[in-house]
Amino acid sequence: MSETRARIRREIEREPGIHFRALTRGLELATGQVQYHLGRIEDVRVERVNGRTHYYPPGYDAWERAALAMLRRETARDVVAALYDAGEARPGTVADRVGIARSTLEHHLDGLVAGDIVQKRRDGNRVTLSLVHPDETVALLGTVEPSLAERLTDRFERLVDSLLDPPERD
């Protein structure tokens, strides 16, 4: 294996679920170079989550791979932590505890529910949220850490949503 290929492999091992752009940026390699080597590393798994391509070392099942991609988002992590503490909670309570607008929460819930991390239970008009696999999800939180750029984007979304959203009424 070439030195570049080994470096790419190590970076994926260190950051499971790293996405393509972060990989090229972190290693200071050209896009084409990374593409070339990724095509030749056989045991790396590829997952497309929300239109972004994520790379994983072997050893993570499909649920873990989707969860790792989701848990790179700072706000999604806050939502998961709030739900872990509460056990189950109504969306309005979660939004209050995390300090986000309802639209920010709904945006993150779309991904978290699709990834089978959070479940929505409907009781007539009432919706209750809880974690599908609380302990496994919290264990994965420690595996990934959002980058500065990812934190900046999440906080930008929080700010814009809270400026443009009307106050919550439920």
């Binding site: 929300n50 239109g51 639209s103 709904e106 945006h107 750029a149 900046l152 984007t153 930008f156 979304e157 814009v160 443009l164 959203d165 009307p166």
Partner: protein
């Protein structure tokens, strides 16, 4: 009393202080604009598009300043474009604020 028209150092024809201010402003605004572009790609709403375009207009200002400094844009044209960018930013932010109501109406129906 006479105030100096210009403060700071020069390096040959280059205004060092002004260049530093422009570079810092261009880099930080570009970082903010990049966060906005990523957020817009995730959310896809018109309000996000308008805020992103407003930040893009904000990036244009230090770029224009740089072009004026090296003489690629005349001082008069720079002045007009600078205030033009201000007007564009205000209109776009106003549009995003106005759009917020419509976005929320749509969401309420679905709830």
């Amino acid at each position: 009393m006479n105030w100096p028209g210009h403060v700071g150092g020069h390096w040959e024809a280059l205004h060092v202080d002004f260049t530093v201010v422009l570079a810092v402003s261009a880099l930080t605004t570009a970082a903010l604009c990049l966060a906005a572009v990523t957020a817009y790609r995730r959310r896809g709403s018109r309000a996000y598009l308008l805020v992103t375009l407003a930040l893009a207009a904000l990036v244009a200002q230090p770029v224009l300043g740089g072009l004026a400094m090296v003489g690629a844009v005349s001082p008069a044209a720079h002045h007009t474009l600078e205030h033009g960018a201000d007007a564009v930013i205000v209109v776009l932010v106003l549009g995003a604020v106005y759009d917020a109501r419509r976005t929320n109406q749509g969401r309420e129906v679905g709830r």
